[in-house]
């Protein structure tokens, strides 16, 4: 990771009681009441983003990870005296879900938080907190009654439409509560947590090989991104071999390609435009088969390993990959043509589900969603990892923030991904695939641009044992922004907006 900008330290509004540099990150140790002003400064004045926020039981502090493009990664460690601290949400809306999560999972109460409802745990007793060290991971917690209070919208002709958790299509479970006036949506509330499997708790004390397999399955379609973030976190700055860096880029771009192809086809499916949808599905299947030919797994799981990569691409396969990508580019053109020359399709996607730039920034959207709203952020360029620093690619940015913009961003990114894979294949030299990684200790961070956006894994080791593992999937940031994007749209357009976002439920719920 690129080291932080030393000037940043001088510009802080007040000096931290202690600071140090670890693996290029700037760690600021402060008191609990100093976290909010410091974060406010970094986000509002320095244009930073809150990328993670969680509680670390050992040392009883809250950890806030802030990324400031061009200046580096900053970790604020706020030491707590008890189990409360002044809430950040009032000033920084992007902290909203993190604080709710912290409250139920670790029992740390953000005072004056505007919305103290649980997030992942349903019908859960008040005094149990899964991430507190005294909670055994296999404890069976009985379901306690109690109602979850949805935001109420009242007025003449306002109807409440509950949807889910089990949906009609083949998608993951989540509950959506619409308040509608006829067809237009007045309010949407997303309630998730249905696929909460206790990943973070399972990771505690977990041996690394097993943990690697778990991370691949946090959100299956982003398995490469998650396992790479895990590897980066436990490598703690160990330099991996050149060839492994290139292969890491190739695998993550292959993952992006098949994900984006699925989303493009999915948007066509959701507006009943069956022919381009079927064509996109065909291309995606060809990519999945290509993945299988290259690595033995259709979703590319099992490619990453701490210290490098587990699967190599030999010369013959590399040719195969080159040809397949050329072929993909040629076969994709007619699909794009059909979509963008169809007035009925364009009418569906234009101005649908608009997320404004200020909303995206306030709630801290990430990935294609943020870029479609005009926010030029990409971890591959801003915090380059693997071999991305040497790759030439254009970060795809659009302005309108509607479904069409997200579609354009995804199409553009797919083409850029194809070019990155090609560059990697051209630049790749023979060499080692992996190096031994020293026994990890202290804190490690993995920061990866997954197909859905910036993905962060934070890990803490103590005496060689994993004591806290925090995953922050990009979907966790983007879900709250979707509640804003659907406002004023009509109910039958919701599935399309949802598809253009294509968020992970499993990654969010953990």
């Amino acid at each position: 990771m690129r080291p932080y900008d030393i000037e940043l330290l001088d510009s802080l509004p007040f000096p931290p009681s202690k600071y140090e540099e670890r693996q290029g990150r700037l760690h600021l140790m402060v008191q609990e009441d100093q976290v909010r002003p410091l974060l406010s400064f970094l986000i509002k004045k320095e244009d930073g983003e809150l990328s993670n926020l969680y509680h670390l039981p050992s040392g009883n502090c809250i950890m806030a990870l802030v990324v400031v493009p061009r200046r580096g990664v900053i970790v604020i460690e706020g030491a707590l005296e008890g189990t409360t601290y002044p809430s950040l949400t009032i000033e920084l809306p992007s902290a909203h879900w993190y604080e709710r999560e912290m409250m139920e999972m670790s029992g740390i109460v953000p005072l004056d938080h505007p919305n103290m409802r649980p997030l992942h745990l349903h019908d859960w007793p008040k005094n149990e907190h899964p991430l507190s060290p005294s909670f055994p991971s296999d404890r069976e917690v009985p379901l306690v009654g109690g109602t979850y209070h949805y935001r109420k919208v009242e007025g003449e002709g306002i109807m409440e439409v509950p949807v889910g958790p089990v949906h009609a299509g083949v998608i993951e479970p989540g509950h959506f509560r619409f308040s509608t006036a006829g067809e237009p949506i007045i309010n949407l509330e997303v309630r998730l947590g249905f696929v909460h499997r206790g990943v973070e708790k399972s990771m505690e004390g977990c041996p690394l090989p097993r943990a690697l397999r778990l991370t691949e399955r946090i959100s299956g379609d982003n398995g490469v991104a998650h396992s790479m973030a895990f590897c980066q976190a436990v490598e703690m700055g160990t330099d991996v071999p050149e060839r492994a860096k290139m292969l890491r880029c190739i695998y993550s771009e292959m993952e992006r390609i098949y994900n984006h192809l699925g989303d493009i086809g999915g948007m066509a499916t959701d507006v009943a435009f069956a022919v381009p949808a079927a064509a996109a599905a065909t291309l995606r299947e060809r990519m999945l088969r290509l993945n299988h030919d290259l690595t033995g797994h259709r979703l590319l799981w099992g490619t990453m390993v701490p210290g490098g990569v587990a699967k190599d691409i030999d010369a013959e396969r590399s040719d195969h990959l080159q040809n397949a990508l050329v072929d993909l580019g040629l076969s994709f053109d007619p699909i794009e043509d059909t979509l963008f020359n169809s007035p009925s399709f364009l009418d569906r996607v234009e101005t649908t589900g608009t997320l404004s730039l200020s909303q995206a920034k306030d709630l801290r959207a990430t990935g294609p969603v943020a870029r479609a709203s005009g926010w030029d952020r990409d971890a591959r360029r801003d915090f380059p990892y693997a071999a991305y620093a040497r790759m030439g690619f254009q970060v795809q940015v659009q302005r309108e923030g509607d479904v069409l913009s997200r579609l354009r961003v995804k199409i553009g990114e797919m083409r850029e991904s194809m070019s990155i894979v090609k560059q990697c294949l051209d630049l790749m030299q023979d060499g080692e695939l992996r190096v031994e990684v020293p026994v990890p200790d202290g804190m490690g961070v993995g920061l990866v641009e997954s197909p859905r956006g910036e993905l962060v894994h934070c890990v803490h080791f103590e005496n060689g044992k994993m004591i806290r593992y925090k995953v922050r999937d990009p979907s966790f940031c983007n879900w709250p922004t979707m509640e804003k994007a659907v406002l004023g749209n009509i109910v039958p357009d919701f599935p399309l907006i949802n598809k253009s976002y294509n968020l992970s439920y499993a990654g969010n719920d953990l």
Binding site: P162, V163, A274, V275, A277, R348, F494
Partner: protein, 313 residues
């Protein structure tokens, strides 16, 4: 009405009942072909219905006896409508095939289906029902007007008589108003039978559903009846288009040769319309819900023009 007429009419009804799942199967097959897929066999709808007839019924707690009765009324309405249609012989339904009655048979079907959607007590049924009513508010007058225009040309509202009039007058009857009305009917056919761009018969998205939304709560035998009734409705619309507007080939006398030609003619026409439906469905995306009235208004305008052009030209 002579006994032979009754026999012919019953044969026609059975013919439509037996053929309608096949037409849906053919439409699916053609759509699959356009998507480069193999697609299910054209007999699959029969297998689906057979299976559903052998399944049990589950009902939501909110539903009443009406919920179970509705499928029978819906299928009954379609069978009545089939009786009114001239399929191979123009004389078979003399005097009972009034077009206004036919339109209201469709209205009964729609009304009952909407009630069924509400009866299930789920929010998707309610949404489907409300959308169906929105669509039907424009489709119904369109249907009436376009059939009025052919009624005006032929001077009668009896479907068999209209059919006979057109069949006997040959090419001289082809007028702009006939084509305008036919175009309006085709748009109504797509709208009434929940095809793309109005609705998507193959959708899995509960929030976008119109017709499917109303069927979500039905299961087993009741679902089989509702599906059959929906297949029937599509076929009957095709029969209206082919035998009221372009009834060439239909038998006007009870002769074996004429009847054979009539059967071949109607099958060919139904196939042709099925292809047209499948291709139309493949060419475009579903419209935004609030854009539907625009397209429906076009079809209404077409039918209005049809009536006006008859009186002006």
């Amino acid at each position: 009405m002579a006994l032979i007429d009754v026999i012919i009419t019953l044969t026609e009804v059975l013919f439509l009942l037996a053929l309608s799942p096949l037409l849906s199967g053919i439409i699916r097959k053609i759509k699959a072909w356009i998507q480069c897929r193999k697609g299910p066999g054209i007999l699959q709808p029969y297998r689906d219905i057979w299976k559903l007839l052998h399944k049990g019924t589950v009902m939501s707690k909110e539903a009443s006896w009406l919920f179970l009765l509705i499928p029978y009324i819906c299928l009954g309405a379609m069978l009545c409508l089939a009786v009114m249609m001239p399929v191979f012989y123009t004389g078979s339904s003399n005097g009972i095939g009034d077009m206004v009655a036919a339109i209201y048979m469709l209205a009964i079907f729609r009304f009952m289906m909407v009630l069924g959607g509400l009866e299930g007590g789920s929010s998707f049924g309610g949404m489907g029902s409300s959308r169906e009513m929105m669509i039907s508010a424009i489709v119904e007058p369109t249907l009436l007007l376009s059939i009025f225009s052919v009624a005006a040309i032929s001077g009668t509202t009896d479907l068999s008589d209209i059919s006979r009039y057109f069949a006997s007058s040959g090419a001289s009857v082809l007028s702009p108003s006939l084509f305008l009305a036919a175009a309006a009917i085709f748009i109504s056919l797509m709208a009434e039978n929940s095809r793309v761009p109005f609705d998507n018969p193959a959708t899995h998205l509960e929030l976008t559903m119109v017709h499917e939304g109303m069927l979500l709560e039905y299961s087993g035998r009741e679902l089989a009846l509702m599906e059959t009734a929906s297949y029937m409705r599509l076929t009957i619309f095709m029969v209206i288009l082919s035998n009221i507007f372009f009834p060439w080939g239909i038998a006007m006398d009870l002769e074996a040769g004429a009847l054979v030609i009539a059967i071949v003619a109607i099958v060919l026409k139904l196939l042709l319309i099925s292809v047209a439906v499948a291709v139309t469905e493949s060419l475009m995306a579903k419209l935004r819900l609030f854009r539907l009235p625009n397209l429906l208004t076009i079809s209404f305008t077409l039918s209005l023009l049809a009536v006006m052009s008859y009186y002006i030209l």
